[in-house]
């Protein structure tokens, strides 16, 4: 079943008076419940594509559907609500809110976006913190955590609102080898646990190896899409 559908999607930025195409005529169908990776060199358009799928930006050409909803037609408020209800984000730089503790960072989407009642909220946050192994650090601030710990919190925050889709832009780029491996393993576990679709933009061969589906982008065009035959299922 297709979760994300792109129909001839293009994105062109205007730099001064010069149009710079970042994506050109991309047509794809991304299935639900998969571990999907977009790979390609820097400047190929991976992040732009993730921004479009994440409703952070709008295509200048074509149509983009998520769960059957055309995102081109959304205004800022509706797009924000849609993101809050359906999409989780994991960032390269973790992007935790520095004035909030680990617990509060994970709680943030539930309280500021979804208005989940206190008891339910507490249960969801503690469950996620336990799953990512951060329960004992729940009262720490982001500045007191290592990179790997921050990314674990970031994963918990992305999953706490039980989104259909999690987008991760270079999630292991700022992590050492061992930590990156653990984070990927954790994301696999979360995918299995919550049946969430994970879409990555990455250079990291470790992630590529763990992806079920790999799309290669070059110069704004998807040049290759393939199933990962060596996919080990996160083991």
């Amino acid at each position: 079943m297709s979760l994300v559908t792109l129909e001839n999607v293009g994105k062109t930025y205007i730099t001064g008076e010069i149009p710079v195409p970042a994506l050109k005529g991309i047509s794809l169908s991304l299935e639900a419940g998969k571990f999907i990776s977009f790979i390609g060199p820097s400047g190929s358009g991976k992040t732009t594509l993730l921004n479009l799928i994440g409703c952070l930006d709008k295509p200048t050409e074509g149509k983009l559907f998520i769960s059957g909803v055309e995102i081109n037609l959304m205004n800022r408020k509706v797009a924000a609500q849609f993101r809050g209800d359906n999409i989780g984000f994991i960032f390269q730089n973790f992007n935790l809110i520095p004035v909030l503790t680990v617990y509060e960072n994970v709680e943030y989407p539930l309280i500021m976006v979804q208005n989940v009642p206190l008891q339910k909220r507490k249960h969801q946050v503690l469950t996620l913190l336990e799953k990512v192994g951060m329960t004992e650090h729940k009262n720490k601030y982001p500045s007191q955590l290592s990179g790997g710990q921050k990314q674990r919190v970031s994963i918990a925050r992305a999953l706490v609102s039980q989104p259909k889709l999690v987008l991760a832009d270079e999630p292991t780029a700022n992590l050492d080898h061992a930590t990156a491996y653990n984070v990927i393993k954790l994301m696999h576990e979360m995918k299995k646990e919550f049946n969430t679709t994970f879409i990555f933009a990455t250079h990291d061969q470790k992630i590529v190896a763990e992806a079920e589906v790999i799309h290669t982008i070059e110069d704004g065009v998807v040049v290759d899409s393939r199933e990962n035959k060596s996919f080990a299922g996160g083991k």
Partner: protein, 431 residues
């Protein structure tokens, strides 16, 4: 609740900047409250002295009298036949505590070897001390009894005159005055009291019994030039004034046969027009009213300065805050925080900064006023000895708090709007 918590933590993130800004706003609020308290205390003290010792709260005169008051004209008197009606009007008015009928005139005073000029107010002592209860208290030597401080045959003179003419209690003096017909008469009187110099211009105002004035000025009928009124509650001044003014407008010019009117110059008759009387509050009779207005104006200026301090301080902090947190704004927007919530977050930050600073400033200002009040500071203003007894101006505190809250919100609005309108994809690039 969460927004307030996040806003508060964001403020504490930059402790030094927040503290400096907060201190600036607090000092501004403190200044407004302290200056407001002291300024109002000074005004109230002086107004109290003026109205309680000399002017009363309101005065009634024959129309045209106040514009000629420097000459103390004896031909612009309140017609005798209207006096009972005015007395009834004042007696029936529930806001009027007391009133005093007066004859005011200029006179020469002589100690038989030296002569100088004075201004006299002739009164009935009980009515005068009920209307101006502070007057007997300002008699520093002699009889200061409110019921007897003026007796027929005796006068009260100010310290300046007593010193200049070497007069003491019991000294005889001769008063020489011109009556309304232009003839001159003299009367020997005795000094019963010497007052502080507060009472009139250059400290040359004296008091005598109204019967002596009638005798000295050879008044046959009426002759009252002024009625001073004391209100039960000074706060009802405007209301009572308006009511009395409306009532007194019914007192029309008497028939042409009235000798009082006939003796009035044609010019003054024309000036009199419809109503025969005029009414003034103390503000219209005392030059201090202008000074009081200047004090009020200064308080307003300080309030405006405070508003600018708050505006610039909060605006500066909030603009900095938005620019420093562009990436963070991108993060919370991408997570799904609605633009209205992002705006509320920044507005709450600005509001918290302003409100807490204003509360701190209010407390500090109130404490300073309490200390000044407890110290009971005395100072001299002109010829008046005043005590600085400021009270905490509740209205001023409330106004400062409300102003700071409103201005903080206004100052935060533009940065908050900017934050709420940021495109998440653009903002995330700043991480």
């Amino acid at each position: 609740m969460k927004i307030i918590k996040i806003a508060w933590r964001n403020l504490l993130r930059y402790k030094r900047r927040t503290l400096l800004t907060s201190a600036l706003i607090s000092i501004g609020v403190t200044l407004v409250i302290v200056f407001g308290g002291i300024g109002n205390s000074f005004k109230n003290e002086v107004i109290g002295i003026l109205t309680n010792t000399n002017l009363g709260d309101i005065q009634i005169h024959r129309k045209g009298y106040v514009s000629s008051i420097d000459n103390l004209p004896l031909d612009l008197t309140i017609p005798e036949q209207t006096l009972p009606r005015i007395e009834k009007l004042l007696s029936d008015d529930p806001d009027v505590k007391a009133y005093s009928e007066r004859i005011r005139f200029g006179s020469l005073i002589s100690n038989f070897s030296q002569t100088t000029n004075m201004r006299f107010t002739a009164v009935y002592p009980e009515a005068e001390s009920a209307t101006c209860p502070g007057l007997p208290q300002r008699i520093k030597t002699g009889d200061a009894n409110p019921c007897t401080f003026i007796k027929p045959g005796w006068i009260v003179i100010p310290q300046n005159i007593a010193a200049g003419l070497s007069l003491k209690i019991g000294s005889d003096v001769v008063l020489v005055a011109t009556n309304k017909d232009g003839s001159v008469n003299g009367l020997t009187l005795r000094i019963s009291g010497i007052s502080e110099n507060i009472l009139g211009p250059q400290g040359k105002d004296g008091y005598m019994h109204i019967n002596d004035a009638i005798s000295l000025l050879r008044i046959e009928n009426g002759g009252i030039t002024e009625i001073a009124i004391k209100l039960k509650n000074f706060d009802t001044l405007a209301k009572t004034y308006s009511q009395l003014k409306a009532d007194l407008s019914q007192f029309k010019e008497p028939e042409a046969a009235n000798p009082l009117t006939m003796n009035t110059s044609p010019n003054k008759q024309a000036q009199a027009g419809g109503s025969i009387l005029e009414i003034h509050t103390w503000q219209e009779l005392s030059p201090f009213a202008s000074l009081a207005q200047i004090v009020t104006l200064l308080i307003i200026v300080i309030r405006i300065v405070l508003i600018f301090i708050v505006l610039v301080s909060v605006l500066n902090v909030m603009i900095m805050s938005v620019y420093e947190r562009v990436g963070e704004i991108g993060t919370i927007a991408s997570i799904g925080t609605l633009p209205s919530r992002i705006m509320a977050l920044f507005l709450t930050e600005g509001l918290s900064l302003g409100l807490l600073s204003a509360i701190a400033g209010s407390i500090l200002g109130s404490v300073i006023l309490l200390v000044i009040g407890a110290a009971k500071l005395h100072f001299t203003f002109g010829m008046m000895n005043l005590m600085l007894a400021p009270q905490i101006p509740a209205g001023e505190v409330l106004l400062a708090l409300i102003s700071v809250v409103i201005v903080s919100l206004l100052a935060s609005f533009q940065p908050a709007l900017k934050a709420s309108r940021m495109q998440p994809v653009e903002a995330l690039r700043h991480v």
